[in-house]
């Protein structure tokens, strides 16, 4: 830390004191009628607006959510113990917002933007970004066309995610939902090292603080904290902080998006956010609907996920974007994106519950994770049959698109045939071929945690799988072969891999690669 001389400190103090504005302004106030359970009812505040920030005498902030005939319902963003009946509440005239800047990268903050990692205050210039902001309109957007590499073979090959897309990750507890998202963050290291970082924001909602600490440790160990911000609202935080946490995360993501940079945000998870919202709504006496969720729980998620967008690559148009906060107007650039990976936890695989169906219909596709696949050793436990990406091939590099084009169909056919083969008996040659290839592809798509694969390596190994070149490799040896083959590729033909990465599939390169594979295969028969 910089040494601070005594005179510097007094200089600061003087500056702080001289800047202090001692004149009193006319303020609008109200009186607390009732306080408890994280909400307060206030009499007065005649002109308060919905979503406005109000402040109690002891400095606790709250957001006005319910404007009723004779009182205002506010949700407290801090501790309510000090607030008593009869206390004064004043309007601040601001809407709820968070201070965002480059200094947030690598930090852990709470919903209010305060650092909670013990590394001192957030440094650098900060810009005020509103928590609730309207998503960019149609003319400020561009179709999703650039891939967001997750580093997971099954996803990048069959359910590609593009920059600016919203792809739901859904599954029961303990099926690896968080693992997929963490791997995706870790895979962005490649871009960070190349100087084109995809800024990542991990929003933890209603999780155990120990789990959040674990995620942070994992990201740190893999060098991913250098471009990641964690927004944490743990299970012990008040419900309003939990349901506003994704909005705080989105505000951070929008800062990167609107300044022309790609960002990735993970909401872990939105079912807990809906539960927190339900709690607040019921306490505010809003009428409950299905599963006791309030009527606007769909809007809660849709307006949040709409904020994920690919911004048009034209600076002049982007500068006129709707609802731009004053603070960042001078920084706006086109071409940025915000990709969202919301997570939903289902109960016993029930995707027809209220919140899962809502979020499935909002997002541009979903990745289904299944417990029985997980237990059968297929990890990541992605059910390829019902997982889709509605953006599709536009979000893949050309080489991957060509190579993996048939993979999804192959695997669907394999699953059908596999059921037959279970009955035993002789199979005709064609069926056997399908089953052999499918079983090996399943092996290829398995992948350990925290080991994202670069896209060029994915192209190489999936080419071998889809072309049926691994027929002679024993199923249990596929993993070992893959590792050997990819190391050899890296050592002998880095230029071919570089071509794949660029999107090209040169015939001579393919021939060389196949030659190499054939020379290795005998060791794994």
């Amino acid at each position: 830390m910089v040494q601070i001389k005594p005179d510097e400190i007094s200089a600061i103090l003087r500056q702080q004191l001289s800047n202090f504005n001692a004149s009193a302004d006319l303020e609008e106030v109200g009186t607390v009628l009732q306080v408890g359970d994280g909400i307060a009812r206030v009499y007065g505040l005649n002109n308060v607006r919905s979503g406005e920030l109000v402040e109690f005498e002891n400095g606790v902030k709250a957001i006005a959510l319910n404007l009723e005939e004779d009182n205002v319902g506010v949700v407290l963003m801090g501790e309510g113990k000090e607030i008593k009946e009869g206390n004064k509440v004043r309007r601040t005239g601001q809407i709820a917002s968070i201070k965002v800047g480059e200094g947030l990268v690598g930090r852990v903050i709470n919903t209010l933007g305060e650092p909670i990692d013990g590394k001192g205050p957030i440094t650098g210039e900060l810009y005020e970004m509103p928590l609730e902001r309207k998503a960019p309109g149609v003319i400020y957007r561009e179709p999703v066309k650039e891939p967001l590499q997750t580093g997971i073979k099954a996803i990048d090959a069959m359910i590609p995610v593009g920059r600016g897309q919203r792809e739901l990750v859904i599954g029961d507890r303990q099926t690896g939902k968080t693992a997929i998202c963490i791997d995706t963050i870790i895979n962005q290291k490649e871009f960070f090292d190349a100087g084109k970082p995809v800024y990542c924001i991990y929003v933890a909602i209603g999780q155990k603080a120990s789990t959040i600490a674990g995620v942070m440790k994992t990201l740190q160990d893999n060098g991913a904290m250098a471009y990641t911000t964690i927004v944490a609202a743990s299970a012990s935080d008040p419900a309003p902080q939990q349901f506003y946490a994704p909005f705080a995360g989105a505000a951070i993501g929008e800062f990167f998006r609107d300044t022309g940079r790609p960002a990735l945000i993970i909401y872990d998870d939105l079912s807990k956010q809906a539960v927190a919202y339900r709690e607040v709504s019921l306490l505010l006496r809003r009428p409950p609907g299905r599963e006791a969720y309030p009527g606007d729980v769909f809007y809660l998620h849709s307006r949040l996920l709409e904020r994920a967008a690919k911004v048009i690559a034209n600076d002049a148009v982007a500068k006129n974007m709707n609802d731009l906060p004053e603070s960042i107007k001078h920084l706006v650039k086109g071409g940025g994106s915000l990709t969202a990976l919301p997570i939903i936890e289902t109960q016993a695989g029930d995707v027809s519950a209220y919140i899962p169906t809502n979020v499935i219909s909002i997002t541009d596709g979903q990745i289904f994770l299944e417990g029985n696949l997980f237990n059968a050793g297929i990890r990541p436990a992605i059910n390829v049959g019902i997982s889709v990406s509605r953006v599709g091939g536009n979000a893949q590099i050309k080489s991957m698109k060509k190579v993996a084009g048939t993979l999804k169909l192959d695997q669907a056919l394999y699953r059908e045939m596999e059921a037959f083969s279970k009955f035993g008996g002789d199979l005709d040659a064609a069926t056997k071929l399908v089953i052999d290839k499918g079983a090996r592809n399943v092996e290829i798509l398995k992948q350990p945690q925290y080991t994202p694969f670069a896209v060029e390596k994915q192209v190489a190994i999936i080419y071998l799988g889809t072309q049926g070149l691994l027929r002679e490799v024993k199923v249990k040896n596929v993993k070992a072969f893959e590792e050997h083959f990819l190391t050899e590729m890296q050592n002998k033909y880095p230029d071919i891999l570089a071509d794949f990465k660029k999107g090209a599939l040169p015939d001579d390169g393919i021939a060389k690669m196949v030659e190499l594979a054939k020379s290795i295969i005998p060791q794994y028969k």
Partner: protein, 187 residues
Amino acid sequence: MPNPRLATRYAKSLVDLAKEKGQLEAVYADMNYLLAVIKSSKDFVAFLRSPIINADKKNAVIAAVTANKVGPLTEAFNQLLIKKGRESDLPEIAAAFVDQYNHIKGIHRVKLTTATEVSEELKKAIVAKVKTEAGLAEVELETKVDEALVGGFVLEFNNNMVDASILRDLKDIRKQFEQNVYVRNIR
């Protein structure tokens, strides 16, 4: 929990009836008397709010407190409150009545809180200032002394507040130091 909607409704009924019978001033005086009793005796409020004491007893006590002090209309109103089981809301209703009376008469209540006693001239000066600055025609000043303010004053009217107390300044300065924006800039 105080129930503002309920208080306004009961107060409105009393105001309307009093106006009709031409007894508005008398009832206003009664309500002020009740408010004075409520303000001076905490026990009386606790008694009104107690769910254990039965209605007959409450009726008898209220009758004893108000005997010969209030008019027949107020007496009848008190009995109505007891019959409806709303005697616990009497303090809010009385306050709401005064508010509505003030509204009819165009009087604005202004509350002045200071750290030390205020002289009459200063009060007059403040009333004059409030009248011109806020555009209020008729002003009724209520003063309160609160030593915690340290100095300065707090002026409240119509859900508005001007807080020019030293206490507020101290709080604001503390907040500014807690945020520590200057330290952040030199790091």
